[in-house]
């Protein structure tokens, strides 16, 4: 596996905060769970209406998604298994390596 399979089960989640309260909740959760923010560049940019793409580890994702549901914050799972997406990105390479 690439990167020793370290991203197995990790997810990338997209949230678009509908109001300032949701934005604040998302900021707090992002800091609390130390997510890897893909967009925007930093937590301070999280604001109402702005795309927020979060890379969350396998263990964290269940807890985080539960918090979002509880806070009634809509989300989309952009990438459900990051390891598979990493492997697929350089598809040629992985098959080449296997060969």
């Amino acid at each position: 596996y690439l990167y020793d399979n370290r991203y197995a089960g990790d997810k990338v989640i997209r949230v678009v905060p509908e109001n300032e309260e949701a934005a604040k909740t998302l900021k707090d959760l992002s800091q609390q769970f130390k997510v890897d923010l893909w967009q925007p560049g930093s937590v301070s940019y999280i604001s109402k209406g702005a795309f927020v793409d979060l890379h969350v580890s396998r263990n964290t994702s269940q807890i985080l998604l539960a918090y979002l549901q509880q806070a009634n914050i809509q989300y989309t799972v952009l990438i459900s298994d990051l390891q598979k997406a990493v492997e697929k990105q350089s598809g040629l390479r992985v098959s080449r390596n296997r060969r």
Binding site: L2, Y3, G41, S42, H55, L82, K88, G91, R93
Partner: protein, 308 residues
């Protein structure tokens, strides 16, 4: 160029550096490789000077890719641009005019340490790999470390944050090396283009404030024509405008510094996509992304050659 070197896959740092060495030898009439310094971990910072050699003074365009390590499509585009230029110099009148009348300084990987780390350890690493004496965290955001409104809004003073501005402006050897080069060539360089991902945007100053640049109409029309040229290929829409209002406010960026340093056309491309794949844009999309971006860059370059 390099036999068997594929431009629609992602390459490691070593592969890209040997590609540059090869071009330096095989296309000496149009390519000259130089090093502008060394990275924090001691790797050379290679730049390709592309263009017909001439004793006559020529203006120049600077292009850098890979300021943020995880944005692999950037370095892929820089390589694509060089190959396209070499392959079409004889057949494409526009490219011939560009390379005869201008030099292009192309830095395929700005953040060499971070890029290497993103291949070997952490695919989503963003920053440089400098060590912080007081914290266990590595790295500075190379796009927050420039001496323009340094460490103001949109940058973090905390070393573990992704947008950490560094202990002082140009603290990062990579940033200092490029800033020194651009300062030295400031009279010659008329456009600064930096390639990032992902968001599908073409941004111009200012990032650090909501204000209009003095040469707004010229820059705006260049951006407008560039995104239209880009869209004409596959219909992909890029938003364009001042970075502060189109993306978000950020301080210490290379684009703002280049503009403040006297380069009249400074742009930052946020290449594909808008989030479906994010940093993991598949290799199958390298070709369309680079093909459309090529048109945008040629458009900006031809705008430079006209009087605005």
């Amino acid at each position: 160029s390099l036999p068997g070197y594929s431009y629609d896959i992602y390459h490691s740092l070593e592969e890209i550096q040997s590609w540059m060495h090869h071009l330096n030898k095989s296309h000496s009439g149009l390519v000259h490789m130089l090093s502008v310094g060394k990275s924090y971990e001691g790797r050379p910072l290679f730049v390709l000077k592309l263009g017909k050699r001439s004793r006559v003074y020529k203006k120049a365009v600077w292009m850098d890719c890979g300021i943020h390590a995880r944005e692999w499509i950037g370095p892929a585009f820089c390589q694509w641009f060089v190959n396209e230029a070499l392959q079409t110099y004889q057949t494409d009148p526009a490219m011939r005019r560009m390379l005869n009348q201008l030099y292009f300084y192309i830095m395929p990987i700005f953040n060499v340490d971070g890029y290497h780390f993103s291949w070997t350890h952490d695919r989503f690493w963003r920053k440089t790999r400098s060590k912080n004496s007081r914290f266990h965290c590595h790295g500075v955001d190379a796009n927050r470390n420039w001496k323009v409104k340094w460490c103001d809004e949109g940058a973090s003073i905390h070393p573990c944050d992704d947008t950490y501005c560094g202990p002082f402006p140009e603290s990062e050897p990579e940033v200092k090396a490029v800033a020194d080069f651009l300062r030295k060539h400031r009279k010659q360089i008329k456009a600064y283009l930096s390639f990032h991902a992902y968001a599908q945007m073409l941004l111009y100053p200012y990032s650090y404030k909501y204000a209009t640049i003095p040469n707004f109409s010229c820059v705006e029309s260049a951006a407008f024509n560039a995104v239209n040229a880009l869209q004409s290929v596959y219909g992909i829409r890029y938003r364009y405008g001042p970075a502060s209002s189109t993306l978000y406010v950020s301080s210490g960026s290379s684009m703002d510094w280049a503009y403040k340093n006297g380069i009249p056309y400074a742009f930052a491309f946020e290449l594909r996509d808008t989030g479906h794949f994010g940093f993991l844009l598949p290799e199958t999309l390298i070709k369309p992304t680079c093909t459309e971006t090529m048109l945008a860059v040629k458009n900006i370059t031809m705008h430079l050659l006209k009087k605005c």
